[in-house]
Symmetry: C2
Subunit: 217 residues, 2 copies
DNA sequence: TAGATTGTTAATCGATTAACAATC
DNA sequence: TAGATTGTTAATCGATTAACAATC
């Protein structure tokens, strides 16, 4: 009877890492892995591994470790990755088109089933094998498609409008690539991926150059 | 004499957010903003704003708030965003090509100056206005270019090799889009952006569907 | 059984929040 | 001056790490 309440978010992020790593181990034919083995493969400490897994039950055997295949299945089930998840992309620009063609999506259990845009010169054209749909039609189309995961790849000024349209259409989880925060109801999950923010953070950690030293002096 | 030691990483990430938000305020013609105003614009609490800024000095005036333009300049300087930062992309596939065409890069103070690949059918071709270079030539080419920031947009199996080549060529900060961790010397900064991990995390937070309830029962 | 490794508790660490004296 | 808001200290919160009894 696992008490799912209050699982730390970093634990969920690491669960995804364990899953990827364990699937590689599965391919290598390994049947059992100790938390120390998982540490060696992921860089996450064995104690952390055990703590993370313990939020969801007792999956290991003292003295032996974890049976790989059952553990993969358990994590996949916990994360709802044991079924094919349909996904929509809104914004058929460079990034949206690139993501639509990304094979990793399918390999990770996601299936892109719709691409939307608001630009009439794009609507009706095809991206890979999908027709670009009119964002205005999303509520009607999604009534039958029931896609719950949406990816925003529009410019920042459109992002809020797109998020609103998604929520209206039944989307419950949003991955936002637009460099702006979007407001959604509390029961809709949002994660932001902000490329320029990441680059800016990296800049800060760049070692001081000779030029910089000069400037500070 | 700011004690830069031990500035929390989340503070640096928020600094980038403040910067973006303050620049918008600048465009709106606002001259002064209190930490409460910044909270209203970013969603980050006023106390957190003041604490974050206090790591780097005293920029505000009690009773008044912060003068926008000087604050923008200070944050930009702290984050080394007061100069144009050259960037390289390695991996001229869908994602690399999309990023190369992303106008936000330039708008945020970055300039893409080189694109590398290891595929002979791509090397020599052009992406936007840049010729795709042979990854083998990176150390020689970068000796004169001195690019310190690299973006990896290759498939996972190539990522480590690319990171090694980058380090060898003088890159000091890496943004890794490949779904795998890369090992680099301690003095090289790495940030990972993992699209499928983000989607998987979102899956976990999806509200339980009728179907799921059934399955659990 | 003896050795290995789990699951969990308690200690530590670090970041966020609350609160307020200093001060513009 | 009175009102507003800073910079900072102390309290709180939450996550990670260390350690070990339970157990395969």
């Amino acid at each position: 009877m696992p008490l799912n309440r209050a699982v730390p978010e970093p634990t969920i992020a690491r669960l995804a890492l364990y899953l990827r790593s364990l699937r590689l181990a599965q391919i290598e034919g390994l049947e059992t892995l100790s938390s120390a083995d998982i540490e060696a493969r992921t860089g996450i400490s064995s104690g952390q591994v055990r703590k993370d897994l313990s939020y969801f039950g007792e999956f290991g055997k003292p003295g032996l470790g974890y049976a790989v295949t059952p553990l993969v299945d358990r994590i996949a089930h916990i994360m709802r990755l044991d079924r094919n998840q349909p996904v929509m992309i809104v914004g058929a620009g460079n990034l949206g088109t690139a993501l639509a063609g990304y094979t990793g999506l399918h390999e990770s259990g996601f299936q892109l089933v719709a691409v939307y845009d608001n630009n009439f010169s794009k609507i009706g054209r095809r991206i890979w094998d999908l027709e670009i749909l009119d964002i205005e039609d999303m509520p009607a189309i999604n009534a039958s498609m029931s896609v719950e995961i949406g990816i925003i790849t529009t410019p920042a000024p459109s992002a809020q409008m797109v998020a609103d349209q998604m929520v209206k259409s039944g989307v419950r989880a949003i991955l936002n690539f637009a460099p702006t925060r979007v407001s959604v109801p509390r029961d809709v999950a949002v994660r932001n991926v902000d490329l320029t923010q990441e680059l800016q953070i990296l800049c800060y950690y760049l070692p001081p150059s000779a030029t910089t030293e000069e400037m500070e002096a």
